[in-house]
C-alpha cells in the first residue's frame, strides 16, 4: 500500500464551491468558472506516493501546486476528494486529530523559510517538538541532532537573521526533520536560493534521503530540479495534473504539447540514461568490439560522451549480472539528444476526455 494517496482532490475558492466541483466534474473548464467569480485551484488531482519516494509536483505559478500541497496536511480543506495517509483519511479528522498528525507524521518546509525571527536557531529547530509537549532537554537534544544532520552544527545559538539564505533553509529543514515525521512537504523550498546554493541543497537533500528514507512531496517550478530530485514527477497545469511519471517518461513520452514545450530546455543528457536510448539486444553483438566500454542501464547519457569521444565505437549496456542488454551507438546518442520528444499517443488530450488517466501508478 502506498504511504500517501490523493483521491480526486478539488479545491475551489469562491462562492458555492460544491456546485463548481460538480460543473468541473462534468467537464467545465477553469475559465468558465472564473467568469462566475470562483477560482478552481486544483481540479481532480489523484496520485500515490510510495514510502521512501520523492514525489515532485511541477508546474508554473498559478498551476495549483502549492494549493495541492496544503491539502495534503489539511492547511487547506479540500472542496472534494480524500487524502489518505497510511490508509487514514486525513480529510475526515477533527481539528485536534489533524494537529496531532501534523506534529508527529507530516512536517513542512517553506519557500521563504518561515523561521520564527524571535527564536534562536535551536529553538526554531525544536519548535515542532515544543508544540508536541516534549520536555526541553529532550527536544533540544533532538533539535541539535537535526541541525547536525542539516549541516548546522555550532550554529544553535545564532539567530535566523544572522544566517545566509541557504543556512536559513537548512534550519527549516532541520525543523522538519526534528519531529521525526515520515512525510515531508517541501513547498518550493529551494526556489528562493541562488543557483549554486540551490544545487548544494538538492545534493544534500538527496544525500539525506539516502540515509533517512523519508517520503517527500516536493513542489517546484523548475523542471531541472524536478528531474534531479523526483523519483516520480507530476506536471500540473491550470489546476490539473497533466502527466505523472518518471523523469524519463516525461522526457521521452510527454503526455501533450504543453509538457513537450516544457521539457525543451531540459538538459536531456543528465536525465536520459543509457538504458533509454540503447538499441535492443536482438542484433547488438555484431560490430561490437571486444574492448567495448560497458555501462549499466541507469548511467546518464552525459557520461557516455567521453567514451564516444575516445573511440566512436558503440558502447555496451550490461545488466546486473554483466549480461549484455543493449548497445548505444554514436548515432543513436546524437539522435536521442537532438530529437524533439514526440507526444505520447497513449495519453489523450484533455479536450476529449475530462478525466485523463494520468495516475500512472508506480
Amino acid at each position: 500500500m502506498s504511504r500517501l494517496k490523493a483521491e480526486h482532490l478539488y479545491k475551489v475558492f469562491g462562492r458555492r464551491p460544491e456546485a463548481a466541483v460538480r460543473r468541473l466534474a462534468d467537464g467545465a473548464d477553469r475559465d468558465e468558472l472564473r467568469a462566475d467569480g470562483t477560482t478552481a485551484a486544483v481540479i481532480d488531482a489523484s496520485f500515490e506516493v510510495e514510502a521512501g519516494q520523492i514525489f515532485v509536483v511541477m508546474g508554473l505559478s498559478g498551476s495549483g501546486k502549492s494549493t495541492l500541497l496544503r491539502m495534503l496536511n489539511g492547511l487547506l480543506d479540500p472542496t472534494a476528494g480524500r487524502v489518505l495517509y497510511d490508509g487514514r483519511d486525513l480529510t475526515a479528522l477533527s481539528p485536534r486529530e489533524l494537529r496531532d498528525v501534523r506534529s508527529r507524521n507530516i512536517s513542512m518546509v517553506f519557500q521563504h523559510f518561515a523561521l520564527f525571527p524571535h527564536r534562536s536557531v535551536l529553538e526554531n529547530a525544536a519548535y515542532g517538538l515544543e508544540v508536541r509537549g516534549v520536555p526541553r532537554a529532550e527536544r533540544e537534544e533532538r533539535a541539535a541532532e537535526a541541525l547536525e544532520l542539516a549541516g548546522l552544527k555550532g550554529w544553535e545559538k545564532s539567530w535566523p537573521d544572522e544566517l545566509s539564505g541557504g543556512m536559513q533553509q537548512r534550519v527549516g529543514l532541520a525543523r522538519a526533520l526534528a519531529t521525526d515525521a515520515d512525510l515531508l512537504l517541501m513547498d518550493e523550498s529551494f526556489s528562493a536560493l541562488d543557483p549554486l546554493i540551490r544545487r548544494d541543497m538538492q545534493d544534500q537533500l538527496l544525500d539525506l534521503q539516502k540515509r533517512l528514507k523519508k517520503t517527500i512531496v516536493f513542489i517546484t517550478h523548475d523542471l531541472n530540479e524536478a528531474m534531479r530530485l523526483g523519483d516520480r514527477i507530476a506536471v500540473m497545469r491550470d489546476g490539473r495534473i497533466v502527466q505523472n511519471g518518471t523523469a524519463e517518461d516525461i522526457l521521452v513520452r510527454p503526455a501533450n504539447d504543453y509538457v513537450a514545450s516544457f521539457i525543451q530546455d531540459v538538459d536531456r543528457s543528465r536525465v536520459l540514461t543509457a538504458g533509454s536510448i540503447m538499441t535492443g539486444s536482438a542484433a547488438p553483438a555484431a560490430g561490437l568490439p571486444d574492448d567495448a566500454t560497458t555501462v549499466s542501464a541507469d548511467t546518464p547519457v552525459a557520461e557516455l560522451f567521453s567514451p564516444f569521444a575516445r573511440s566512436g565505437e558503440p558502447v555496451a549496456v550490461t545488466g546486473e549480472d554483466g549480461e549484455l542488454t543493449g548497445v548505444v551507438t554514436r548515432d543513436g546518442l546524437l539522435a536521442a539528444l537532438g530529437d524533439q520528444p514526440q507526444v505520447a499517443q497513449g495519453a489523450a488530450p484533455r479536450a476529449t476526455d475530462p478525466e485523463p488517466e494520468v495516475t500512472a501508478h508506480a
Partner: protein, 604 residues
Amino acid sequence: MPRISLGSWAESAVDWLQSHLSWLFDAVNTVLTGMYDGVNAVLGAPDALLMAGILAVVAWWLRGLLAGALAFAGLALVDSFGLWDEAMATLSLVLVASLITLVLAVPLGIWAARNRRVSRVLRPVLDVMQTMPAFVYLIPGVMFFSIGPIPGLIATIVFSMPPGVRMTELGIRQVDGELVEAARAFGTTPRDTLVRVQLPLALPTIMAGVNQVIMLALSMVVIAGMAGAGGLGESVYAAVTQVNIGGGVESGLAVVVLAMYLDRMTGALGRRVSPSGRRAAAKDAASARASASAAFLRYRPGTAVATVGIVVLALVAGGMHLTRGGDDRQAVAAGKNAGHGKKVRLGYFPWDEAVATTYLWQNVLEDRGYEPDVKQLDPGPLYTALAQGQMDLQFDSWLPTTHKQYMDRYGDKLSDLGSWYGPTSLELTVPSYVKGIDSLADLKGKGAQFGGKIVGIESSAGMMGTLNDKVLKEYGLDGEYKVVSSSTSTMLAELDRAVKKKEPVVTTLWSPHWAYAKHDLKKLKDPKGAWGKGEEIHAVGKKDFAADFPKVAQWVKDFRMSEKDLASLEAEIQSGGKGKEKDSARRWLDAHPGFADKLAPVGA
C-alpha cells in the same frame, strides 16, 4: 429634508439610562474611584523628592543614567512649581485610564485581527470614539458618574482606546502569513499560534500602541480637568481661564515633563519586553562594551539592583510618613464650631466674583468647623452636578437672564439661596480712546473700524445668546458685526493687546469686572434696553441644601456684598496669583475684621 431629531433621542436615552441604570453607573463609579484613589494614594504618599527619586531610578533602570538624572531634574522642577500633588493626581489618572484602556483594547484588537467581521464593525465605532469631541460625552459622563475624576477617566478611556485596538490589530495582521502557516503546519493550536508566534512578533507594534494610548490619555487631562478631574488639567484650565500666563506655562510644563517621562519609559519598556527588542539591546550593549568611552553614562542597573533601590526609597518614604504624622489643620475657635467637620462641596466656574466669594466662604466655613471642598468647573457641569446633588453650593448664578437656560432646565432640582449682589450689567465695551462711539447705536456703520467683529466669550455663556439674538438685531448690527466666540481669557487677552496698541476693539464685558479698573474703558449705552435689566447674582444650592446645611443656608441667605468690598476682594485675589486664592482671601478677611462674624454669626 425632514429634521431628524437624533439629538433629542440621545437626550431621552441619557435620561432613561440615568433613571434605570444608575445602579450600574454607581457600581462602575465605585470601582473606578477605588482604583484611582488607590493609585493616587500610593503615588502621592511619599515626599515629592523621594517619589521623584523612585521614578528616576525606574528611568535609570530602563534607559540609563542620563535619563534618570533628567527625569529627576524634570520632576523636581514640577515640585518647585508647587504642582507635585496635581502631577501625581494626573499621573494616577493617566495610569488607571491607560491600564483599563489596554485591558479592553488589546483583546479587542486581537479579536478584530482574527475576525474580519469584528474588524469591520469595530472600525466605525473607533472612528466615532476618536473624533467625537470629548465635551459631547463629558457632560453625560458627569450626569452618570458625578463630577470628579471618573467622567474624565471615562472620557480618557474612550479617547485613547482606538490606537490601542488599531495597533494591536495591525501588529497581529502584519505578522508574516507564512510564519502563521508554519506554526499551523507543525500542529500549533490557534491559541498557541497567538501566544507563541503572533503576539511576540506583534509586540513592538502593540507597544507603540500602548505608548500612543498613554500619550493620548495625558492629552485628555486638561479636558478632564473641566469636569473636575483635578490634577494638572485643573491647574492648566484654571490658569488659562484666569489669564494667568505664568501659571499656565508652569502647569503646561508639568504636563510636558510627565508626557516625556511616560513616553520615554514606555518606549524603553517596549524594547525590553519584545524579544527582538531584547536582542537589539543585547547587541547594542555588546558594541557599547567594545567602545568604552563614557561607559558610566550608559551603565544601567540590573533589574534586581533597580528593585532594591526602589524598595529602599519607598521604605524611607514610608518611614518619613510615619514620623511626620500629625495633622496641621488649624484649630477651630472654641464656641464657633458649627460644622463639626461636615463636608461642604463648593463649586465655581472661573469668573472673578465666583472665585472671590467661593474662597471667601471657604475660609469662613473652615473657621466655623466645616470642611469645605472647593472645585472649579464649567457652568454646564456645575449646574448639572448641583441638580444631581453631587455639589452643594455655588455663588455665581446670574439671574434672571444669563443663567436662565440652566434654571429653566434644572430649576426644580436646585434651591435659590437669594441674591448677594446686584444689580449687575452686561454690556459691549470699547476702550475710551475710541472716539465717537458711546452707545450701541453708534456702532452702526462703523463695522470696518472694528474689522466687523465683536470679541465674545464662551459660546455657552448666556450673554452670548442675548447678544446674538437680541442686542444685535435691536440695533440693526447683525449683518455688520460677527460675534467671535472664544473664551473669557481670550477676550481679555485680546482687549489687553488692543489697548496696548491703541487699536479699536469692541468686546463683551460685564460689571462688576476688574478689567474696568485695569483699563480705561467705556460701557456702551443701551438706550433700547436690549440687554435687559440688570441682574442679581444669586447663590444656588442643591435642592435640599437648606435641609442638609440649615446654618450655612441661613448665612448664605443673609449674605450681601457691596461693590467696593467685592472689588477689593477681587483685586486682592488677582494680585495674590493663581494657587494662592485661599490665602489671598484669608488676608482680605484679616484686613476686614468683623466681616467673618457678620457673614456667619454663631452663638448668642
